[in-house]
């Protein structure tokens, strides 16, 4: 009956994704997140993280965890209260499950349509969509990316689904739509405390969240200071 949030349901190259033993990045280097995989990077307070969408149609599931002691993490539910909004925009300060400011949203070249209410995809989701056997998924990418730098996921926080287009209607109903972002769009965040950032290039290929008639694609990121 016990459920281990850290236990991956399968493996992909995310398990070998460490950019260094503890996730410390090379500043100003452009790292590529291969399609369907994830990567974790350490950020020191004051560092800037830029996530770029080369194809324009690729969603990034995004999490941050205070470091060390990653039991405090970016929380969408607490951020909704902080922002009086479910749609973060540049200038906003995103907060943790203990309401600590963790990220400042600095810049967004896209039209600003993102999702903060949907869980990351996981293997049970793909099985419910009719897949048999393994399917890459953002939750396993999160688990593996964190494990790859020697940490263990304490819980599965709801992600900041950058560029995911999930309109919420007045009656609460939602729709799964393709992104409205364009080639080369990027988002930029400042780390307000030391933290681990994890990005997954979402492998969803059964709903149009990563574009109509397209394949999951890569993302890139850079850390600067």
């Amino acid at each position: 009956m016990s459920f281990d949030p850290a236990e991956s349901t399968g493996l992909n190259q995310t398990a070998e994704s460490a950019i260094s033993a503890d996730g410390t990045p090379d500043y100003d280097r452009t790292y590529t997140i291969a399609p369907r995989t994830g990567i974790a990077t350490l950020l020191q307070a004051g560092d800037t993280l830029t996530i770029t969408n080369p194809s324009g149609h690729q969603v990034c599931d995004f999490w941050t965890f205070r470091y060390p002691g990653i039991t405090e993490y970016l929380s969408m539910a607490h951020t909704h209260t902080a922002l009086d909004s479910i749609m973060p925009k540049p200038g906003d300060v995103l907060v943790t499950n203990n309401r600590t400011p963790i990220l400042r949203f600095l810049e967004d070249t896209s039209p600003g349509i993102h999702d903060t209410v949907m869980a990351a995809c996981d293997l049970p989701r793909y099985h419910q969509l009719g897949v048999s056997g393994y399917h890459d998924n953002c939750t396993d990418n999160l688990r593996m990316a964190v494990a790859a730098i020697g940490l263990s996921l304490p819980a599965i926080p709801a992600p900041f689904n950058v560029w995911m287009n999930i309109p919420v209607e007045k009656d609460g109903s939602i729709r799964w739509q393709p992104p409205v972002s364009e080639k080369g769009d990027f988002v930029r965040f400042e780390a307000l405390v030391d933290c681990v950032a994890v990005m997954s290039a979402c492998p969803q290929d059964l709903t149009p969240v990563n574009g109509l008639d397209t394949e999951p694609d890569k993302l890139t990121f850079q850390v600067t200071r």
Copy 2:
């Protein structure tokens, strides 16, 4: 830096709220949740839980955890995916962070306005609202109610805020509104697996979520089979 999700930031009578040593309820008994406090109750698969709002204006922060091994729990973010909606209604099946069906929403005598995107209130929230010193809060009520039956909270899941009225506009902005429920309204759920249900009579008295010009009030509940 390490954050313990189980550690209460203060105490109230929730710490003494155990309805029995392990939370096993007396069937058909009406239990009262005192204003500003919480209670945990075990539910066996097939049991029915009815939560009643005597004043009509009192919000119930509500969580369920699979039992034993409470690391799998009702997840609003995963439930949004399951329902294609952020507004659960009778007939809906609510799911866990591992997408296991955990509750069936059986009945709702209120107009059906509830919140599933906001975090539970906590002491940092009240400090941000200008309170100095301790203020009762739903997160501590959750921690204490779980501890009162001998368990330790593994994480702080986003709650199902029953009767909380937080309209979400097309641009993502939200407003904090009084409940539209009326005296004696109730919601009823069927447990689909063995679980612990926790209810907190929200002590928020600085925003109108528990009604305009009103005080936080009691709730009641019954378990039947």
